[in-house]
Amino acid sequence: MTLKLADPVVVPGGADARRDDVSRAGIGSGITIENVTKRYGAFVAADRICLDIQPGEFVTLLGPSGSGKTTLLNLLAGFQRVDGGEIRVDGKPIQNVPVHKRGFGMVFQSYALFPNMTVAQNVGFPMRMAGISRADSDRRVAETLGMMQLSDSAAKMPSEMSGGQQQRVAIARSIVMRPKVVLMDEPLSALDRRLRESIQMEIRDLHRTIGSTFLFVTHDQSEALTMSDRIAVMDAGRIIQVDRPETIYRQPCNRFVAGFVGESNLIDAEIVRREGAALVLRTKTGHLFRSPAPDEVSGRNVTVLVRPERLILSDVPGQESIPARVKSALFLGEILRIEVTLDSGETLLVRCSDSAGQTLPTPGSTVHVSWGMSDGWVLA
C-alpha cells in the first residue's frame, strides 16, 4: 500500500516538484475530499466528509472541540490513515503517499519549532530535506524571514523568543518551500487577542502573496470570519455548512450554525401565510411580522434568526413592534448590550452602537423591539 521508490505516481508538490517551485511563487493545489471517514473504535471522528477546495483558496474548518476538524487536517497531512473515502490533490489520490512526501506546509498549535536549532536552521529544515543547495536555501530562508519581519532573529534559538515570534517562525517554516498547500492547526489559539489579530492579518496577506491553498483549523468564529474565503462549519464529525463568511453569518442553514457563529436571537414563530417572496409570521406573543421566505419550509412552526445588531429598541410602539421589558443593560464601550424579555418569556439580546446623548435604559422599564423585514432569517 505504501509508495515504492519506482512508483510512477507523481506526488503533487513532492520532493521533485518542490525543486522547480523554489524559484517562482507557487500556485495552490485543488483538494477534493470525498466521503472521507475516520473511526477510533466505535467513535466516528470523521463521518463521510465531502469538501471541494479550489486552487489558491483560503478555507477554514470551524467547529467546537471534538467536531472532527483536526482529524480532517491530520488525515490530509497524512498523520492518520483514512478508513474510507478518498482525498485527491490536483486530481491524484494521496492516501498512499507518506507524510514526508506530501510536500505540504504545516503550522501547529504548539509551534513545534525544533528547540535544538536556530530560527534560520528551523526555517531551512524543509530545504535541507528537499536537497536544495546551501546557497539557494540561504537566500530563500533570508527572504522568507524578511516576509515575516524576522530578519533580526535568524540566529536566535526558539526558546529565546516570545510565543508570537515563535509562531511567526513556524509560519515562515511552513511557507519557505512555497508549498502548494499550507495546513494550519489552530495556530493562534495560544496567543493573546491583540497578537492574534495582528498575525491574522499577516497570514491573510501571506496567502495573497504566495497564492498557496490554505486550510486553516480554528474553534474561534471571529477568526474564521475575518480570514477565510470560505468557512466549513463542522459538528460531530460532519460538515454542516460550507459557504462564504457573510453567508454563514447571515444565512446559517440550521440552529447549530446560527448559534456557533456569532451571537443570535432565535425566535419561535408560526407561519400565517405566504405573501409573494415573504412569509407572514406570528410570534408566541401574538405579534405579526414579515421575513423573506426560504426555498423550502416544512410545517407551520419555524425558528427565525435575528442578529442582535439588527434589533431596534424604541420607547414608543411602532408598526410590527413587540413590547418587552428591559432585563439588563451594559455599556461595553463602542456598543451597548441590552437584554430584554418578551411577554412569552423569550429573552432577546440587542446590540446597538454608542452615540452621543444615548442613555442606557433602566432595567424593568418597558421598550418596544422591532426589526426590518430583511433582518430576519427563517431557519429551515
Binding site: F114, F125, S159
Partner: protein, 597 residues
Amino acid sequence: MTQMDTHQGNPGVTPARSLSERLKDPALLLIPAFAFLGFMYLLPLIDLMQTSVEGDPWWADLQRVLSVPLYFDSLVRTMNIALTVALLCALIGYPAALLIQRTKGITQVLVAMAIILPYFIAILIRTYAWMVLLGRNGPINKFAVWIGAFDEPVGLLFNRGSVLLGMTAVLLPIMVLSIYSSLSRLDPALVRAAMANGAGPLAAFWRVLLPLTLPGVGAGFLLVFVQALGFFITPSLLGGPGDMMFAMHITQQADSITGEGFLQALAVVLLVLTLIVVAVAGRFLGFEFIWGGERKAPMPKARETLDRPKPSRGGVKEALADRAGWPLLRWLGALNARWGEWTVRVLAICVIATLVLPIVVVMIISFSKASYLTFPPTEYSLRWYEKFFSDRNWMSAFWNSLFIALMSAGISVTLGATAAMGIVRSSIRGKSTLMLLLVSPIIVPPVVLGLSLYSLFLKFDMVGTYWGLAAAHSIGGIPIVVVIVAAALQGVDRRLEQGAAVHGASPLTVFRKVTLPAIAPGLGAAVFFAFLHSFDELVLTLFLSSPRMKTLPLMLWGDINYQLNPVLAVVSTLEVLLVVGGIILARPVFARARADT
C-alpha cells in the same frame, strides 16, 4: 503556612524570630535523616578514607593498588566492561523506550510492565536466571542442539560474553526509563513537524528526536556506567577467572584479611573513580540526573556560543553534512516508511524477550521434579516447594529477611519522608546540595559501603543484629523514599493547603486532611520500594551478617555458589510473585498518582 510563604517571598530579609517560630521551620525536618546518614554513612566512609592513608608515606597503600598489575588491570577491565554495558544499554534501550511511547492503551501497559517489572526483582535472582538459561542443560543449549547448531551442549557461561549479557540485561531498565522520561517530555508535534517538513522517519529521528533526548540518553548512560563500575553479583556469578571486576577484588581481599590500609585503599580507589565520573557528568548534565530530575534552567545561553552558526561559516562540518549527511537522510527517507516501524518493533521485542524470558524459564523450572537444573523439565512436581517450606534454614532466613525489610522500610520512610518534606517545604539555601547528599548513597558502590560499615559494626557490636542490618539497608532506602516523596509533594497544589488554612484549619489539620491524602500514593510506593530494597539486599549483608543470622539473599548466594538446585528457582518464583502482587495491589494507587500529575 502563610508565615513560611512570606519567608519564601523575600529570602533576603530575615526578621528576628522567636524560638517557637524557629522550631516550626520545616528545615528542621532534615535533621533526623542527616543525623542518621552522618553516623551510618558519612562517618564510616570518612573512616575508610582515613584508614587508607594511614601508611607511611600516606599514599603508600594507594600507590600499591595502582602499581600491582593484578589490580590495575582489573581497574581497566572494570571501566571497559562498564563502558561496553552502558553502550549496549543505550543502543538497545532506545528502541524499547520508543516502543513504550508509541504504543497505546493496554499494549503500552504490558510493554512498560515487561521492561520495568524486572527492575524490581533482585539482581541476584535475575543473574541466577541467566545462569539457568545459559547452563549446559539450559534451554539455549538444548534448543541449539535440537536444531543442530551445536553437536553437544557448549559452555556458554563464565566468559566475558555472559558477563556483558547479564549486566546489560540487569541494568537495561534504568536506561529505558531514563530515555522514556526524556521522550515523554517532548511535544509530540515536533516529530510530526519534522515529517510534515519532508523528513522521513530516520531523518526525523536523527535530526530532531535524538538531539532532543540526548540528555535522557546521557543520564541513563551515566547511571548504568556508574552502577556497572561497582558491580559485584553478576560478574561473580557469570564471569570466568579472566573477568574479575574491581569490586570482586575488594570482597576477596576482605575475606583473606591482608594488611589494614591496603583493603581500604582498594575501596577508596573505586569510590574516587565513581565520584570523578559523577562529578564530571554532573558538570555537564546537572547532578539532577542521579535522581531522574530535569535540570531547571534549560541552557539557551550556553548554546548561544556553541551552536550559533556564523552567517558565512561554510565550515568542514557543514560541508560534510551537505555532501554526505543530508543526502543520506534524504535517500533513507525514500525507503518504505514501514521499515523504520518494523525495526523499532523487532528490536524492542528482542529486548523484552531478554528481560522476561529468563524469569519465565526460572518459574517453570521451579516446578521441576529433577534434582538438577534442566529445561524443559522432564517431569513436574511441587517437591521443591515442599522442600523450601519445610527446611528450617530457608524458613528462618525468610523470616529474618521479612523482619529486617519491615524495619528498614519503617526507618527509611520515617527519615526519608520527613527529609523530603524539609527539602520541598523549607526555604533553606543549597537545596540541590542537600538533595545530592541525601541521594548520594545510590551511586556509592555497595561493596565500598559494606566495607566501611563493617568496622563501624565491629566497634558498636552490631554485626549480625536485626537493627544493624535494617539500619544499613536504610542507607539505600532513604534515597528511594526521598525521591518518590519529594516528587509527590511537589505535585501538591499549595493553594489547596492555603485554602484549608484560610478556612480555619490548623497546620497539623492541613497536613492530615490535605497534604497527607495527596501524597499517600507516593508514600505507599516509597514503603513498597524501600521494603523491596532491603528484602533483596545482598552485598551489605555479606559484610554485616553473622553465621547465625542469615537472610534470604544470603542463603541464595551460598546455594548459587555451591549447589545449583531448583530450590533457588522456588525462591525466585516467590520473589517474582511478591513483586507482581505488590504492583498489582498498588495499581489503583499508582493510577491515582498518574491521574494527579
